[in-house]
Symmetry: D2
Subunit: 344 residues, 4 copies
């Protein structure tokens, strides 16, 4: 039997409905560079769903690319980004933001969340003196890089802090669907658009072949944005390839259904692990969990399953990173849990 991977949510292709849309429209002639009807319709669907009729929506190809294009477009050269120390842009984008000339000011936290206190501590150290960079944009990922989802109250507090301090608020939504569908999170799509200056809706990690939708809400950030997409190499000749995937995902409830499925599979996995005596580093909220298991069990599980082992916490156990997705099945979860049960 082949190994089964829980390493990430981008191991497979696209949800069948999305692939079918590509197939169905394959021989249509579309205008290039994202100006086609599918992209325009997808943009309208997104604006309706997020309640931001006046926003600009741009379709790009990947998360690092969106973060880099947007952040560099929004800042002047001396301005800096505040991010959680575990934020994707600070750790895992090979310095893509700094490559555009901007410093990232990190704030530590256990679940990769930012808070107003963390932001204000950075501001306090940067008091308007030109010898230091000028903090100007707050970057947060939701879900975070540790799989946590912000509550509405948390995001409102951060947004208020940003407005008081003339900071832009930018949200990396590589897993925005999963964050919005997290159990107990009362946040609605409209709240995201209301609270953020700009954000992106991730496709790659939620059932599309590729593609992310950047939504710019703040009028002051909209001008000439297509120039910046082009200049960063982020404009696709066949832009409709992304546009029609988002059209398919947002025509109905598919986008959120897929995220809910991924979350449900993670919840089933988490619950099963706890039932077998494992524990979680952080409570499961979205589709990424961090179980702590005995090294002996891990060694056996690695023969049939792939996941990341994040560090040996003592001589006997280690924490794993396990990710479920739109395509993970109950059967795969249960097979894993069954094997775990034998080992615990």
């Amino acid at each position: 039997m082949a190994m089964y991977s829980f390493q990430n949510d981008y191991s497979e292709g696209a949800h069948p409905d999305i692939l079918a849309a590509l197939q169905r429209c394959n021989l249509e002639q579309n205008i290039g560079y994202g100006l086609d009807d599918h992209s325009l319709r997808a943009a309208e669907l997104i604006k309706a769903r997020f309640g931001c009729a006046d926003a600009d929506v741009h379709f790009l190809m990947g998360g690092t690319q969106v973060n880099q294009t947007a952040i560099a477009a929004f800042l002047r050269p001396h301005q800096a980004v505040i991010s959680a120390a575990d934020g994707h842009i600070y750790v895992h984008e090979a310095g893509a933001i700094e490559a555009t000339g901007h410093k990232i000011l990190p704030v530590s936290s256990p679940d990769a969340k930012l808070t107003p206190a963390g932001i204000e501590a950075v501001l306090a150290e940067h008091g308007g003196d030109e010898h230091m960079v000028q903090p100007r944009l707050v970057y947060l990922s939701n879900a975070t890089d540790m799989g946590a989802a912000y509550t509405l109250g948390e995001l409102e507090a951060i947004a208020a802090c940003c407005r008081q301090n003339s900071l832009l608020l930018y949200l990396d939504g590589a897993r925005l669907g999963q964050a919005l569908m997290a159990d107990g999170v009362e946040m609605q799509p409209e709240d995201i658009a209301r609270l953020c200056d700009a954000f992106y809706i991730g496709g790659t990690k939620n059932g599309m072949l590729l593609g992310e939708a950047l939504v710019i809400v703040n009028d002051a950030l909209k001008a000439d944005f297509r120039y910046l997409i082009k200049q960063r190499g982020a404009m696709m000749a066949k832009g409709f390839v992304v546009g029609l995937q988002f059209e398919a995902a947002f025509a109905g409830t598919l986008y959120f259904d897929l995220a809910a499925h991924a979350n449900a599979m993670a919840a089933r996995l988490a619950e099963g692990i706890e039932n077998h005596g494992g524990r979680l580093l952080l409570p499961q909220q979205t589709n990424m969990i961090y179980p702590v298991l005995p090294l002996t069990a891990i060694a056996e599980l690695e023969k049939k399953f792939r996941f990341y082992v994040r560090g040996f916490r003592d001589g006997k156990t280690a924490s794993l990173r396990m990710v479920t997705s739109w395509v993970t099945s109950k059967e795969k979860i249960d097979t894993f849990l069954e094997r775990l049960g034998q080992l615990m």
Copy 2:
């Protein structure tokens, strides 16, 4: 009847065989970031076909992105690029190369081709003085941005000039298939790999959904290249989406067949236009032609067909840019020619 577009070669999706490959592998689990088996196999097929067993092959998403990533990786900050004044990077990439810090030194020519004489004229003006940039890389596109294809002799002469002058030779192959399949061009894929330090093989404009294959032949340019892909936002989580398209295109002769088809359709179109009394700005070689037609005929043709009108050359005629592709049919060509016949 809907308008039919001859504006470019990226209006439709992908060749059915390529789409079928995506469909067939959709639920496979693949390793992320281009390290999957499809990408590895595609790389091997390309290296075999171009006779460069030791080359490194990387799959990126689009042409501007490849040009920007590669050129910026190959140069130190003070080094500059020599390009035809009509070269894509000089005119139509929104300053993407300059955005990475590098000046482009333009050389004028009627068909967007470079020559040793043009290169040497730039070198003569830049004599090793640190007050000027240092020319270090020659960029050429083949086919050129005017649809011309280099002959083997022309490319050999440029490559010799580059080696004599310690210049790197980089070839933009957005339409490399079309160039290699041009009538009377005796150049083989192996010649490209033998003569260039690096080049890319275009997928987007030759029947794929997206994707370009960068081939780095010169060992000195290989180190750490994946870092640079990542840092430019050019690394796809689902890299296999590009890898398996190239695998399908290079498993047999599909890649070159599609290019040959596009060229043949352009030849048919060109011949028909000339038969009807039109003329061409440049001889047809690949899948892009520049017919000169009466303004009165153009006005009528625009009611049923889309193409670019490039400039009014006198009060009576204008030149068009017309592009055929892997999917253009004889029927569409003939419909156009029939209408043209009525108008001439």
Copy 3:
């Protein structure tokens, strides 16, 4: 006898009055980073002299540095600069502007001057399409890199063209004194401030040890400029070293007197050369001239004098670039002319 150099206007140190100011204030304690009283006073003197009470004045160290800092601060990443093809930033700054990410769009002209027609030709080629850069700033040098001085009418026409087309006008005044003191130029310092969005007043080439004064007139360009100075490495700890040189130069008429002297010496040199049968490529206006002389005479002159030989125009003559300065004496001119007389 040592060789005497007419190669440039930065071979010697500083005018004695300026050096005396440095000496006199040497043991004063001054606040760092350009916030000292001398710099503040110099800024006031400059604003008064140029009639721009609300301008911001910043003191930097050299011309390339000012151009790079200012232009990069004034533009967004996709925006480009229009410059004469002989403009200093296009040719002789080692790609310093492109190194900040901005393309320069060159316009050819015999005397390195720009015109509205040249600017509009560039605009016509860049019609608001995000595939090309967006022209946003006009760079001109006055005196030009060929020693020409703009007339008031010429500068007014360019400024009008810029305003009609939403272009910023930036003037490189490395030799602004010499341009304003050129015979027959009715332009006043106030005109420079009235017509330009920003400009700099050169110190290095007009009798100071180092230093240039950047004047930002347009309010929209002022914000946070000190951050950008600092970030470019252009902020001096001992900023007062530049400030007090400008204070000395603008307390009275010294700045313009030195420029007038340099011009007068060039006029004497030009007249003498013409009297001896030489001719000039361009009419002498400022302190840089381009005499055309027989190769035989040049070969002899090179034994006692240094100057640049710019190219052999036929088998018998070549053009020289000769530069006078604040410190060039009549005696040196006459010694040169005497020797020339013997050779012609």
Copy 4:
């Protein structure tokens, strides 16, 4: 009586011998851009004094500029810098390094020193994965930004760590003289050149008007460096202005004498403060000290002296940053101490 400042070591102009050299050579004609005889002679003197006959020496204008020019020249785009979290480049250069595209990876320490353990911890987190930046250069300042001086053993350990890990070692010597003259530091200039790949010798903070000497020891880092100086706007037309200051400073022992004087004044100040019951945050080693004094005393001292108050550590005391220099006199120290004595 005017306020007396202990805020920094760049409040006054230049040591009289240095100013005299400028005066003496003022009317000499020198070749431009740092190719003059003074600069060449100064380079020879420095190479002799530091025992690095094959090094390249370049004269630049300021510390941020040298750091930015050198680091950006030495690294490829994906490579990062390891620095103390209090390092000048990480905190106080307005993001000048990031503006060239490079991330800085900070390591915390009480005295702003780096250690092999700190460097290795960063390496352990960056294990050769292209999703993260690649650490490639270690930046340290000596004296550190807290006034500490590395011992020979400490620097040797860091250099060994760098060599084992293929890291370049770059030393910011804004206060290198003060570090080498620190009591009990057995390090010789030759050790600096032997252990570092490149370093700079600060002039601005040790009695010159401006200027820093960059010494590149590692052959692999030398190529084309003047291009990079020019492109960063760091090349002075009157390069001899810096060259002859270094010539004057290194013709004899002046450079080190001035540093020793500054240190001695700081020692006198530190000792006096301790005698009056104050204490120091860190032991005095160079010309920068951090006394902790009662708030009541500080309030009185501020009426006659300037210094930085760095933070209130409890309700009753605060720590100051006080800096002495080549020109600080015993009288000024004693006046301060006398007043302090009255207040304690």
